[in-house]
């Protein structure tokens, strides 16, 4: 069964992939290797996990605003996530997603960290403003 959840479009586009989910905020600068698309923050619960082609769900960004440029670098290297879902976006992730053409949605009707099962297939539609998850 597919379930549709509405949200707010921050960066336009459509992307789909397998979900990588965390309840911890994420810093792209120093937290993600732009060459491999792997989380390298030793203190993060997703340490060692690849985000390449995924639908990456996390509450919000943190750290340096240079993180926006790291997202751009990931995209250029073909290692970016297919789409991002935030609980509530802030400047770093919003700017990074827009300049990198990564679809980004936030403020879903339900908490995305609960609604999205890790590893499940997710569609993020940032043209009409919803995500589709398996239930």
């Amino acid at each position: 069964m597919l379930k549709r959840i509405k949200g707010r479009i921050i960066s336009k586009g459509i992307g789909e992939g397998d979900a990588v989910v965390t309840s911890q905020p994420l810093s792209f600068l120093g937290g993600v290797d732009p060459k491999r698309g792997v989380i390298i923050d030793l203190k993060h619960e997703l340490y060692g996990v690849s985000i390449v082609g995924s639908v990456l769900a996390f509450p919000q960004g943190k750290g340096s605003t240079v993180g926006s440029y790291v997202m751009y670098q990931l995209k250029r290297n073909g290692k970016a996530p297919a789409a991002i879902v935030n609980a509530s976006s802030e400047t770093i992730i919003a700017v990074g997603a827009i300049i990198s053409n990564i679809p980004l949605i936030d403020r879903l009707d339900v908490d995305p960290i609960d609604a999205i099962k890790p590893g499940s297939h997710v569609l993020v539609n940032c043209v009409d403003g919803f995500i589709e998850v398996e239930t």
């Binding site: 600068l29 926006s68 790291v70 400047t91 827009i98 300049i99």
Partner: protein
């Protein structure tokens, strides 16, 4: 958010893909932070200039960017003095990447004055809206000059520079510019003491709007040091140096609360965080007169101020000290993994965290004394 016809055209891509992306950023930020409209800005100031800070990620982004800024725009310090980099021990690969970053910014029509004190070059008018990203300059613009800017990141300030507007939220609005805590000091403060006060108060008030009650009113250099300290240890973007309102909370500090000065055996003494004004250079020259520097002493200022203070700089450098421009101790690789002595609350905070350097703070006179008596 309400967009006018012109904003809508930019968003639709009628002025090209770069401005379209920039407008998408401004609209997204406006939506996230609840702005009702965009306001025109008088100028922009962009952080994320040193190759040490933005690395290949930033360089790649800038390399792909085309177009031109639409308002006067300046840059934060880069990783080296553009002429004295050899003397600073900067390696050639870094120099090459750094100059590539500067060239890219210049191609966007940006004035490559690299300084954390852009207000010495071109002071914003009272009440004007800005999009500045250097945190100490944001504090100075809001608190000393009465302009209005949020603490922007480099990428969002660049987007604002390209469009010439910023979303109206945060410190652009009167309702967010009201002091909400009073900080009282009943003892005299002078010079670097204000940087120490900023260092201490920033940790306490985080991102609130403090108002101060002083025994004597600080001068502009002291206000600069105070704001820089609070912006580094906290996220203070606006403060008042005299009482304005009646916040319910008052915090009284004693002299011992500010007891953060110490001395050690530094391998370099660095002054000019934020970049020195003419009056600070005058004070340093006076303190150095008749002495010879025995420990490396670096003094950071903007090229704009340096060009107008040639005789002062000659006097300073005759003692063996080095005046460097375009750069600073925080964003240059030259000051990493060292033992530093500074006269700045901001540098005391960032020396360890961003330069991995053991850092101690003293007054300007203490610093010069240590530099001249190895």
């Amino acid at each position: 958010m309400h967009l006018n016809r012109n904003d809508e055209d930019i968003l639709a891509g009628e002025l090209g893909a770069v401005k379209q992306k920039a407008m998408e950023i401004l609209v997204a930020l406006g939506d996230i932070y609840g702005a009702e409209r965009l306001v025109p800005i008088e100028s922009a100031q962009i952080a994320g200039v040193s190759y040490k800070t933005i690395g290949d990620a930033g360089l790649e982004y800038l390399t792909d960017l085309t177009g031109s800024v639409t308002v006067p725009t300046m840059l934060n310090p880069m990783g080296m003095d553009r002429y004295k980099w050899r003397q600073m021990g900067i390696d050639e690969l870094f120099v090459e990447k750094q100059l590539a970053i500067i060239r890219k910014y210049e191609m966007l029509g940006i004035d490559a004055q690299c300084t954390c004190t852009p207000y010495y070059v071109n002071a914003p008018r009272k009440g004007s809206h800005l999009s500045w990203s250097e945190s100490s300059a944001v504090s100075y613009a809001n608190s000393v000059l009465g302009a209005r800017t949020n603490r922007e990141g480099g990428p969002s300030a660049l987007a604002a520079a390209l469009v010439g507007k910023t979303p109206e939220y945060g410190y652009h609005l009167d309702k967010n510019r009201v002091p909400d805590i009073t900080i009282k000091t009943d003892f005299p403060l002078q010079g670097a003491d204000f940087g120490a006060l900023g260092y201490v108060v920033g940790k306490i008030v985080h991102s609130r709007v403090p108002q101060f009650s002083f025994v004597t009113q600080p001068n502009d250099d002291e206000l600069k040091a105070l704001g820089a300290g609070m912006a580094a240890t906290g996220a203070v973007a606006l403060y008042y140096s005299e009482r304005r309102a009646k916040p319910s909370e008052t915090l009284e500090l004693s002299r011992s609360d500010l007891d953060i000065y110490s001395s050690s055996e530094p391998d370099a003494v660095v002054l000019g965080c934020p970049h020195c004004s003419r009056s600070e250079l005058t004070e340093i020259a006076r303190l150095l007169d008749g002495h010879t520097v025995k420990r490396p002493l670096w003094i950071c200022t903007s090229r704009f101020v340096a060009d107008r203070c040639r005789s002062l700089i000659t006097r300073i450098e005759e003692t063996g000290a080095n005046v460097i421009c375009d750069t600073c101790m925080i964003v240059s690789p030259a000051f990493e993994k060292r033992r530093l002595m500074v006269n700045s609350g901001k540098a005391l905070e960032y020396g360890p965290s961003l330069c991995n350097s053991h850092t101690v703070m003293g007054t300007t006179a203490d610093c010069i004394n240590i530099a001249c008596n190895a």
